[in-house]
């Protein structure tokens, strides 16, 4: 078990950073949990790379529509005002800069805003999916990841060790330990997970951690 927030709680914190009327792309993995977060009627439109515009939370077994999945292949609800487009039009929306934020699950993020999420160490290939298009073209890139690898190695780094997906684009990082902002020389710790110490975070991070005077604790949503 990881320290601090669980996966849904990490997604919940990021979902609360979305602004009214944003068009939000959620990538495969932890990002898709954001559409489960109850953030009220704020006009947020969730976009999936497969052309689904305006979807909601994951549906329970028996209520799902087998013709409808999000970027993670999960069966989701459609919100009023939803529309379906093909893959070319879906990426037209992405490349033309209409995505206010993309949330991506990743392997590594660097203090300079670079990130890596398509190729693991020693592999010949990998999975790019839509991440390169999204990272190059969305107005903002938020990333979401466990703070360390399974064997405890840091994934917030001075420089990415793995091949990057895009350079200098990440503006917000949510992990089980806290909420961070890449600042070039290090990561600004904006909020800390409940029950976690700054020393724990420093020990688990491969770059400088900048700690502000006033450090709020992440409020965990009920449920």
């Amino acid at each position: 078990m990881s320290t601090g927030l669980n996966r849904q709680q990490i997604a919940d914190r990021l979902a609360q950073a979305f602004e009214d009327d944003w068009i939000v792309n959620l990538g495969v993995g932890m990002p898709t949990l954001c559409s489960n977060t109850p953030i009220g009627d704020r006009g947020i439109i969730y976009h999936a790379e497969n052309g689904v515009i305006g979807y909601g939370g994951v549906l329970p077994d028996g209520e799902e529509d087998l013709h409808l999945v999000n970027a993670g292949g999960q069966h989701v609800a459609l919100n009023p005002g939803a529309a379906i487009v093909n893959h070319a039009d879906s990426f037209a929306i992405i490349r033309s800069g209409r995505i206010d934020v993309t949330v991506l699950g990743i392997y590594e993020v660097a203090a300079n805003g670079d990130f890596a999420n398509w190729k693991v160490a020693g592999a010949k290939g990998g999975g790019i999916g839509g991440a390169m298009d999204l990272a190059a073209c969305a107005k903002r890139v938020f990333v979401i990841l466990e703070h360390t690898t399974r064997d405890g190695k840091p994934r917030l780094l001075r420089q990415c060790a793995l091949p990057v997906t895009a350079r200098g684009v990440v503006t917000l990082v949510a992990t089980n330990l806290g909420l961070f902002e890449p600042k070039g020389e290090g990561f600004l710790l904006r909020e800390i997970a409940p029950g976690v110490s700054v020393d724990q975070i420093r020990a688990a991070t491969g770059a400088e951690v900048i700690v502000p005077e006033n450090l709020p604790v992440i409020e965990v949503l009920a449920g």
């Binding site: 052309g51 013709h67 993670g72 893959h87 070319a88 290939g125 999975g127």
Partner: protein, 249 residues
């Protein structure tokens, strides 16, 4: 003599004449819109030295559905052009990945949006275009780039297909297709990019004129053969249950 219908009786008949060395694309994103029946028929038909185009290279789920992994295991595949040579979950190991990592089959890894746009370009008679995607990454190393209005873009080329396999919800005898929900995904642009498009269709094939012209997603101009999918277990209906009859909301 004018064609009267594009309906074909069986998947075997629909893929029988596909020659060795063809470039064949499979639509689909996760299960919806994936032409499992046609992929299975191509495995049975046995064409070799194929270049396959698809978003991903198969699934890790059991029981196995016909996918690129199956065609690779049968020695039918020379190369795959895709956005995933590995599973999205690093812990899942795909049959394809093993063959690829050991060098038994080639792959060209393409960002998903670039893959979509290369197919759309082929379908639109555009030989090449520029995209911001992948600039500054390993995938752009050594490749031609160009600046427009101060931003760097990568040149990308059309990806024409010999065959596109698609799965649709409804079709008419003129080859017009309708997709339901996220079934649409790559299917319309693969149909545009292909010399021949073969569709497996969930509802019985309708007479020409039964689909409102405003509600056609892919014109019959792009579709040469349509096959109605028989009920399970003969036909493949992936997911936990068969779609509800009249599921269109």
């Amino acid at each position: 003599m004018a064609r009267t219908t594009k309906e074909i009786a069986s998947f075997a008949d629909a893929v029988r004449d596909i020659p060795d060395g063809s470039v064949v694309a499979f639509g689909g994103f996760a299960y919806p819109g994936t032409p499992f029946n046609l992929v299975g028929a191509l495995a049975d038909q046995g064409a070799k030295n194929l270049t396959l185009v698809a978003n991903s290279t198969g699934g890790a789920a059991q029981p196995r559905l016909p996918d690129i992994g199956l065609l690779v295991e049968r020695g039918q595949v020379r190369k795959v052009i895709c956005a995933f040579t590995a599973a999205t979950r690093a812990s899942d190991v795909l049959p394809f990945t093993k063959y690829y990592e050991s060098g038994q089959v080639e792959a060209e890894l393409v960002p998903q949006g670039t893959l979509a746009e290369r197919l759309r370009a082929a379908g639109a008679g555009i030989p090449a275009f520029y995209t911001p995607t992948a600039v500054g990454t390993e995938l752009a190393a050594g490749r031609e780039t160009r600046f427009f209005h101060g931003r760097e873009y990568l040149i990308e080329y059309a990806l024409p297909l010999d065959y596109a396999f698609v799965r649709a919800f409804r079709a008419d005898t003129a080859g017009n297709l309708q997709f339901r929900r996220s079934q649409r995904n790559f299917n319309p642009i693969m149909a545009m990019a292909a010399k021949m498009t073969i569709a497996e269709v969930e509802e019985p094939i309708m007479p020409a004129g039964a689909i409102d012209p405003d509600e056609v997603h892919t014109s019959g101009i792009f579709v040469q053969r349509v096959v109605h999918i028989p009920p399970a277990p003969v036909g493949i209906w992936p997911g936990k249950r068969a779609p509800r009859a009249g599921a269109k909301s």
